[in-house]
């Protein structure tokens, strides 16, 4: 198995009971080779989102310990929340971070899915890059009708799970496991109150509108700032780098007589995405990622740990 670093962002259907949240998070605090970067519970969504980075083997072990805690305490038959879900452990995406390819993350997701179904009795659907059926690349298709519909439909051939038996776990439902690229949340604020302009720019730049292939975007009003925003998710920053997205928004804004005021990155971003932006703006040639001292060190430290 690769020694590469993987990000993992498991989502659990519990955002209210602190003792359950603590039990789910606990295995990530104690595991060597796994780092708990963030966790946030939302009571309205009744959902917990944990952000981890780690090495494939210890990460899988800790994920299973955590899943057992969630499965033992969450009963989807009585679970209510604003966020769609089919399982106590709802979604587990693996994201390549350093020294591991997307192909290796797909293999990791698929082998983890088999082990997870075997050890927990919860059936698994594979999504995004790890999907075995094209329609399952899209999470919304997998989660259609949520837990309540899946209980009735799992026997249908089109809803058969990819791992485990075609039988929803009575209290813990089913789990969606997969592999995807790192998602960068990049918001661009425009010095304008013209909401329709922000919406039009968002439509123009996003993949669904014929724009950049790995960009999702919507227009947002920022009333406290007296501005409008193009709120963007970049689903593959290797293909659509931040500086190219910014340039395209700037071009579209300028054509409408609007200026770009500022931008923000919401949440985390891999160093690689910023190094690429720096290399572009500094006109760097012949630059190698191994020249970035801290990242070189991270690779060395990581190897020392395994």
């Amino acid at each position: 198995m690769s020694r590469g670093l993987v990000q993992c962002v498991p989502n659990y259907s519990e955002g209210r009971r602190q003792e359950v949240i603590d039990a789910i998070v606990a295995p990530f605090r104690s595991a060597s080779g796994v780092h708990l970067l963030d966790w946030r519970a939302d009571p309205d969504h009744n959902r917990l989102v944990v952000t981890l980075a780690g090495y494939p083997q210890p990460l899988q072990d800790a994920l299973l310990d955590s899943a057992r805690a969630a499965i033992a305490s969450i009963d989807l038959r009585i679970h209510v929340g604003a966020h769609p879900r089919i399982g106590a452990v709802d979604v587990v995406p693996f994201v390549p971070l350093r020294g591991i390819s997307m192909q290796e993350c797909v293999a990791l997701a698929r082998s983890f899915a088999a082990r997870y179904a075997r050890e927990t009795g919860v059936p698994v659907y594979l999504y995004e890059e790890a999907a075995l059926r094209p329609e399952r690349r899209n999470l919304e298709n997998v989660r259609r009708g949520q837990f309540e519909a899946l209980v009735k439909e799992i026997g249908n051939p089109d809803r058969a799970p990819d791992a485990g038996e075609a039988r929803v776990h009575p209290t813990a439902g089913a789990t969606v496991i997969g592999a995807r690229q790192f998602l960068v949340a990049f918001n661009i604020n425009l010095r304008s109150r013209d909401f329709s302009a922000a919406r039009a720019i968002a439509r123009t730049i996003r993949a669904s509108g014929g724009g950049l292939s790995h960009v999702k975007a919507v227009g947002v009003e920022l009333q406290h700032k007296g501005m409008v925003q193009v709120s963007i998710n970049i689903t593959d920053f290797h293909i659509n780098p931040l500086h190219e997205v910014l340039e395209l928004v700037r071009t579209e804004a300028t054509a409408r007589g609007i200026e770009v005021a500022e931008t923000e990155i919401y949440g985390m971003v891999p160093a690689e995405a910023l190094v690429a932006a720096a290399a572009h703006s500094l006109l760097l040639t012949g630059f190698e990622p191994a020249q970035v001292l801290d990242l070189r060190l991270l690779d060395l430290l990581g190897h020392g740990e395994q």
Copy 2:
């Protein structure tokens, strides 16, 4: 002692005998908490430059082991090379990298100097940020006349060492230990063959010419490229960020009707310097270094190691 990460770039007066070079480098290969990032021996200079990153305690232990190997094998009375030197272990700078301040690196350099002089019998001069006398901030002043002059002059009050006895080690000379900021070698190539323009721009932008306070620069001809270059050392990229240096060179070049063609970073660069350039060019607001996933992880891994 701080858990922060330190870069250290010891210079040794041996660039020819492979077995001596190997013995000097060996302690850095085996030490836990010390990472050998690079080493290069130059036979003309008869000098070895090692690039390390590590935690203060194991780094100091490994440096002493390495120094013992150098002192045992190098005899400055018969050493000849193009590079000025006063010691078998010539210069040892400590550079703050992550989670450690310059003040802490100064304290580290001074306490290491005392231990080094005590355990090896080699007198020490403190330089740059760790200097105890203002004129010793400048390495050239400390190394004036090299080993050969120091042997005669060490008894003079103005040449008294900062640690150890006022007596040059018979074969290993003296050592210069200090603390400084990370030095970024940043070269800017101009689409021009006008060498005098490159020299004029270098003079204008550098500290000694009244330009940026932490910039050294010279003009260089790149005959193979048919270009000229402004070759720059940024001695504190926090104060003079790369993008500001580039903008100033671009302004000066444009005023002379010359275009900036490309740039290069020679050797290593801290992620922080590139993140700053990216944040600037992407117009990022409210951005925190803790949002850079890999760097956050490096801090976590580092703490695990100590």
